[in-house]
Every structure is written in structure tokens, then in C-alpha cells.
Symmetry: C2
Subunit: 181 residues, 2 copies
């Protein structure tokens, strides 16, 4: 049931996902759903938190791998993704009801904060290893890397084509390699 909610939130967002749709997707009755959850918001909270955890784990997989900072970030950016489906967590920022509910926004905020911190850490390591010129700001660059991903999804969905995403990622990797050389 949580899994079905995750899927529906990904595809249709919070406003666009009805309890009835969740029940149909999970093959569960209304009574069942309202027995286990107080309502749509609580179910969404569970689903968002699970998606957030899964996403962080997936990111860590590439980011904790060995290699230079640029290599690790490039692997993170270039990992296989379902580009046209967009980011499960990022898309929630477009949902006013999610942003308005602290319980729903918190995991979204935490996920991106963690990813930016992790990227900044890696970039700072690269800095210390002499991989980058000292002028490179790890925190700002980390935000840029995270933004390229989220923005890449937006551009790809607008175009109904993976290409803009792939270009954005390629451009970002080339820039990092450019300043690292």
C-alpha cells in the first residue's frame, strides 16, 4: 500500500492522487486503508519518507565509490535513471499541499540537504587533494550539481525526451573536468 502510494505520488503528485486510486492500485479496500492510516496525509508521509530513504541510499551507492571527486560525481550524475518519470522527491516541491505540511515537506528538505552536504564533502576532499583550484567553492558547486539533476529532469519532461537531461549532465561533467585539469 505504501509502495502503491509511492508510485502514484511519483506519477501524479499529492493533489493528483486520491485515496480511491491508492486502494485500487494496492488492491485494498477503503476500510483497510483507513484502519492502518488516518488518511491520505499520513499515508503520503509514510510513502515520501520511504522514497526519501531509498533515494539517499541510491545516491550514496555512487558517491561512496572510490575515485577522484570528479569521477565519483560523474558516476552519480551519469547513473541510469528513469529520466522522463522525473525525480520522485523533486516533483513534490511543485505540490503546494506537500510544501504547506511540515510533516510532508521535512523528508523532502532533509533529502536534498543531505545530498548537497555529501556532494560538498566530496568536492572539499577533491580540493584538499589538489584536484581543483582553491577558488572552487565546494558548497556552491554541490548545489550546482544537485540542481543540474533536478533541472535536467524538468527539461527532459518538457521536451518529452531524455536528451536535454543527458546534455545537462554532460555539460556539468565537462565543466568539472575543465576546472580540474
Amino acid at each position: 500500500m505504501i509502495r502503491s502510494t509511492q508510485q502514484l505520488l511519483w506519477e501524479r503528485g499529492y493533489v493528483g492522487t486520491s485515496p480511491k486510486a491508492i486502494q485500487a492500485a494496492a488492491d485494498a479496500g477503503q476500510g483497510s486503508m483507513y484502519h492502518h492510516f488516518s488518511g491520505k496525509a499520513e499515508l503520503a508521509k509514510a510513502a515520501i519518507e520511504r522514497s526519501a530513504t531509498e533515494l539517499s541510499a541510491a545516491a550514496e551507492e555512487q558517491l561512496s565509490a572510490p575515485g577522484t571527486a570528479v569521477e565519483r560525481i560523474a558516476r552519480y550524475l551519469e547513473r541510469d535513471r528513469q529520466v522522463l518519470k522525473g525525480c520522485r522527491i523533486g516533483r513534490l516541491t511543485a505540490d503546494p499541499d506537500v510544501m504547506a505540511d511540515p510533516a510532508l515537506r521535512a523528508p523532502v528538505e532533509a533529502t536534498f540537504r543531505r545530498i548537497r552536504e555529501r556532494l560538498a564533502e566530496i568536492l572539499a576532499e577533491g580540493n584538499q587533494a589538489g584536484e581543483f583550484p582553491e577558488t572552487l567553492d565546494p558548497v556552491a558547486t554541490a548545489a550546482t550539481v544537485a540542481a543540474v539533476l533536478q533541472g535536467g529532469y524538468v527539461l527532459a519532461r518538457a521536451a518529452n525526451d531524455d536528451e536535454p537531461f543527458d546534455q545537462a549532465v554532460r555539460g556539468m561533467v565537462q565543466l568539472l573536468q575543465g576546472v580540474a585539469s
Copy 2:
């Protein structure tokens, strides 16, 4: 009425915007709305097209200004924006009903295509002026720049704070300056 629809689409998206809400915002009756428009979709089409036109014009203002490629792009990225409200056009990519309707998706697609092309043009000019190393790919870098903006909005909304947007932009500008030096 179109203006009210633009505003509501910006704040609540297509799924989250009801005809009744539009009428209330525009201080118009139902009869009036359904006289001028066949329904929600047609009204949304008009609103999206107008927002797209306005956005393209605003972008062109910075991009057509004099200066080096990096300067022009930096001015575009750093222009004053209502960051926490997100991008009026970009947020529509999270709306499955907008993406599913070719008439509604078309202006979204066209807007981003135009902006990416315009950025690529400017970067190519910078290349020809010897501003960048030859390895810089104008098309890919243009997608990266556009993505940083869209992703910056996402990060800022998730954090409920402008800062991640500003950091992402700053990181992007520094990278461009870095490869240009």
C-alpha cells in the same frame, strides 16, 4: 481572467486549479467563463501561452545585453527572481495532465527549447571569440545552465529558502569563469 489563471497555475498547478477558483480570483461568474472559454483546458492553454511569451521576453532582456558570453549568462542567472514561487513554466512539467495534452505541453516545450538554443548561441559566440577552450560544448553547456535554474528552484522550494538557488547559480557562474580564464 487569463491573468488569474496564470497566477493559479503558478501557485497550484493545473490539477490543483479549479474553474471555481479561477472565477473567484478573476471576480467573474461561471457563465462568463464558459462563454469565453470552452473549459478549464482552453483557459489553461491561453494562460500557459501567455506565461511562456512573458518568460521568453524576460530571458531575452538579459541575454541580448552586451558583454562577454559569461557576463551575459551570469546576468541572466543572477537576475532577481521570486525563487520560492518556482518557475511558472517549469512547474508545469510536474503536472501529468499538462504533459499529456499536446496543446498544453507545446508552449512548455517550445519555451525551454528556445532558451537552450539561445544559450547555446551565446556560448558558441564565446567560443568563437576565444573566450572558452575549444572543448567546451555549447549545446551541452546551454542545457546545464538552463537546468541549474530549474533545479535551483526545486532545491530552494524544498529548503523553503532562497539559499540553495543562490548557491547553485554562484557555483555555475564560478565554473564558467573557471573554464574561461
